[in-house]
Symmetry: C2
Subunit: 243 residues, 2 copies
């Protein structure tokens, strides 16, 4: 039965997901806390069914851990070093824990399969943390949001994968305007600026920033409702969907 499970997937090819969220002015990454003890953590990930595309596999993995269907995600890079798992100080630990964990499911053959060489396709996703319903998997104690600047130790090359995804997010922020996926439906200019600052890790000058964002011509300003009272509330904006 368990070998049949691995037979459904393409061997040696995995997907790891860097799921970004934004909360309390900090850029966060979703991290798996494994049931193996030893405080072992890593990126949520999985394998590709023989009968699904790689994008379908990534969406399925994302839905499994966040409950969300409609996620902005993008493949950004393949990690294909020969020793990315075998050189990991955690490899033997993972193998021993898998065998202990449930020897009906994680037979020696399955454990071998899971700890063999994997070429990993990296995806990153942007989610609204408030909408997420975290669903730890069979091997996970918990799924945890961690500040991208204060990541705990991660298994294998997962810290490197997060760094690459973070670079990609910075580069695509202006080009593809993807950052708005991390904001609520309506937001103030101050919130946009704080988001950009969290992603780039540096402050932006207020006036220049506002001009730059408005010049992109992608936001609609929502009219204030006249209440009769003095209205000092800042303007609210909405991202204008592509025509």
């Amino acid at each position: 039965m368990s070998t049949a499970w691995t037979n459904d997937y393409i061997a040696h090819l995995s997907i790891d997901c860097v799921i970004f969220g934004y909360q309390e002015k900090n850029l966060k990454v979703l991290i798996s806390n494994y049931k193996f003890g030893h405080d072992l953590r890593g990126l949520p990930g999985g394998y590709i069914h023989k009968k699904e595309s790689i994008d379908q596999a990534a969406l399925r993995i994302l839905k499994t851990c966040t409950g969300l269907d409609d996620i902005y995600l993008e493949q950004f890079r393949v990690f294909g070093e020969v020793d990315r798992i075998s050189a990991s100080p955690h490899k033997n630990l993972v193998r021993a824990e898998l065998e202990k964990f449930d020897d009906k499911f994680f037979t020696t053959a399955v454990t071998e399969w899971m700890t063999s060489r994997f070429v990993c396709i990296g995806y990153y996703a942007l989610v609204n943390i408030a909408a997420v319903d975290l669903q730890p998997g069979v091997l996970e104690n918990a799924l945890e949001w961690h500040d991208v600047e204060k990541l705990p130790e991660l298994t294998h090359d997962h810290r490197h994968i997060v760094e690459c995804a973070h670079n990609e997010l910075r580069e695509n922020l202006d080009k593809k305007l993807i950052g708005f996926n991390l904001l609520p439906e309506t937001f103030t200019m101050k919130q946009v600026k704080e988001l950009y600052e969290a992603i780039h890790g540096r402050p932006f000058a207020r006036n220049n920033f506002q001009k730059k964002i408005l010049d992109l011509n992608i936001l609609d300003r929502i009219n204030k409702i006249f209440t009769g009272a003095a209205n000092k509330a800042p303007y609210l904006y909405k991202f204008r969907p592509k025509q």
Copy 2:
């Protein structure tokens, strides 16, 4: 023997290479003309040895067809649709031709392996056409340079792969200054402009272009040699390697 050959590679994972060159003011792509008859063509590609990284595999494949060691290359995208090979009108043709081709090597098992589902990692490379020594492989009649704007029919999803690589090249031209890999060691500003025009498929205004390129502060101007005669030759430039 032949099944042993496929055993050396990771199954279901391939590399296809979009090798760009530049000649006579045209952007060119290197295309394999297969021995199968039927004028079947596609991108040079191959598989990944179980004991080499994906970058090593791409460099090996590039060296095999161009003779070059020192090539600018970059992975740019994974093509992972389930039916990218099975839906190809060429699949059965390729299979039949492989079996005819050399039944000691391309046994039914090997042919099955080669025509099964493959997730393809796309690499693009930039080479100096003058330095290339084309080396057709065992399945190729010839390797041919084709204008990117006038590609012949290509097998599977290879035309789509070329289009994605061409987009990536356009996007990275300014950001990573990679275009200079396509020029000779010294060049005139006119040559740089012609290269940019070939890659973007549109004209650039001369003065603006020159200013834009010089403002990047990446070129060294080579002093003209004083010959006594009136010197109307244009200035020559050299790309300044990174510090």
